[in-house]
Amino acid sequence: MAQSAAAVPAGYPKASKAVKFFFYSSIFWLLLSMVMGLVVALKSVNPDFLTGSRFLQQYLSYGRLRPVHVNTAAIGWMSTAFFGMVYYGVPALCKTRIRSEGLALFTAWYWNLNYAGGAISILMGYQTGVEYGEMPILFDIGVVINVVLIFINLFLTVKNREEKVLYVSLWYWLGSVMFLAIVYLIGNTPAEWLPSGGVQEAFYYFYMHNIIGLWLTVVGVGTIYYLLPKLTQRPIYSHKLSLIGFWTIAAFYTWNGPHHLINGAIPVWLMKAGIIPSLLLLIPVWAVLANVIGTMKGVWYRVSQSVPLKFLMTGALFYGLACIQGPFQALMGPHAILHFTYWTVGHAHMPLFGGFSLVLFAAVYYVLPRLVYRHIYSTALMNWHFWCSVIGFIIFGFAMWTAGIIQGFQWMDGAQLGAAFVEVMESLHIFLISRAIGGSLMFLGQIIFAWNVYRTVTAGQQIAADDPMFVSR
């Protein structure tokens, strides 16, 4: 069901400072994450890159930069931008104001300062050693405080809404912020508090999977459901299907942690508990895709007219592909060949960059004009952003997947140690170069994005406050 374009209370739309803060800062983190990604890609081609002084050697070493790259992408860029999206979208769907703009602005500041502190501590050498959970506990506490405050603000907004109907995006968004709090608390439990390494396996691999599965996926799917009717001017194909998707995501994603340890040092029952729900994941994924395809039926031509819609469709496509690849990798056979290889790197970038970063680009292009009362500065630049990102990612992804398959089979042939291992490394050189080229294109796309956003805010064509585009927000 679409949101009705009924009369909105006076004073709308109100450009929210908090939403702007979240969006602008997220783009800063996006660029930073891209720079660091490119540096680690180049260090993989030439290990002596950027080691000119002792300072560079120490603080920009591969082992410190890589976790900061990952955190800056997942927490700095994506989480920050999604907070901007929900702070905009929740009041819009509730036809009311955010409960407390002051609290929203406070969380925007605190969230960003907190992450900056966390990232710097990792570079300083204070990382915890838990993947995705590298930030020291001081900053973990900051994350949880922020998430709880954001949740309260959003929940009270929904509670006091003017619009009776609870559109499905609100389900996904509220759910996702709650899931983030749960997942983050579990994943950042200090190792000292847990009785054994085996139990840590359960905690940390639950976290590693679900920071993506229960937070970024759920908030991202909610965003797809928000933008799709707006960009196509049509109602969602099936409300029921979107609800089925919500409950099956919550039910199946949660169980997927152990599939990262298949064939590994965990009991067989736990592997099964991870593998079966991984296959069942195909249900929520197809619920989303069927809904997208159903909504688009008859209006696919609009993809050629709207760059944000093009981003959204491509994002949904890559999300779907990532979730076909995921269950495949979770089978014991493919896992035995592909796990620990570069394949994983390609897979990790598919939902995060190819999928939900593209959804976020669509979100920024849709929301920004409604925040700053200006049209996007340049459609041509939006198109450049699109093609650089997509082509760059495809080069990146296929380089990694091919390299991973080669690695996996070479290891099976015995090249697991010493000189034989290094020989395989040498044969992969060309793929690491290809990854750096693909990554450079992705980075170029984001520079274009940032420039276009900057020009929109400063020099975009102005829109009158009574323009029809503000009516439905």
Binding site: R64, G125, K159, S196, L243, T254, A265, E426
Partner: protein, 172 residues
């Protein structure tokens, strides 16, 4: 088509919380009750380093420098791991805080690296991996580590050995 419950965010969130909780119980809480997950093996005892020993400090250097992003610490009963030594058991990680299994093997697995190289080799390799390991190695040179840090790190690497009883690799 919307019924009343569908309009209540409270009901919705409680429902979602319960469903996620079931998954948390299944994959995060139940492992507490599996003997194999909470019983240390003999190899684990070898990694139970006294506080402030060279090995314990070296493990911190390993984490601080992010060695784990390229080196896994888990041997699986699969063909790709056939030459890596005894298969890892859940109890092997009993004293690891935190576990350093990780998800990448850009460099070789280090679960039992202590059985393979001498201290002298490790020092030389850390200082110049390309010279010692092979020109194609993409490992950084750790010339910036202090002597103390490098000694500790090598002590840690050399300690990564299976307990004598389980060296036949038939466990599991």
């Amino acid at each position: 088509m919307a019924n009343q419950a569908e309009k209540s965010p409270g009901v919705l969130l409680i429902g979602a919380f319960v469903i996620v909780l079931i998954g948390v119980i299944g994959t995060v809480i139940l492992p507490f009750y599996d003997e194999s997950m909470v019983t240390p093996t003999k190899s684990a005892e070898l990694k139970n380093y006294p506080a402030d020993s060279a090995e314990a400090r070296g493990r911190q250097v390993y984490i601080r420098e992010g060695c784990n992003y390229c080196h896994s610490q888990m041997v699986r009963p699969v063909k790709a791991d056939s030459k890596l030594g005894p298969i890892s058991q859940p109890g092997d990680y009993y004293y690891d805080k935190p576990i350093l299994i990780m998800t990448q093997r850009t460099g070789p697995d280090l679960t039992w690296v202590g059985t393979r190289y001498s201290a002298e080799w490790q020092h030389q390799h850390l200082l110049n991996p390309q010279k010692i390991g092979g020109a194609g190695s993409i490992m950084p040179k750790y010339t910036y580590l202090s002597q103390q840090d490098r000694d500790d790190l090598v002590a840690y690497l050399l300690s990564l050995k299976p307990a004598p009883e389980s060296t036949d690799g038939t466990a599991k």
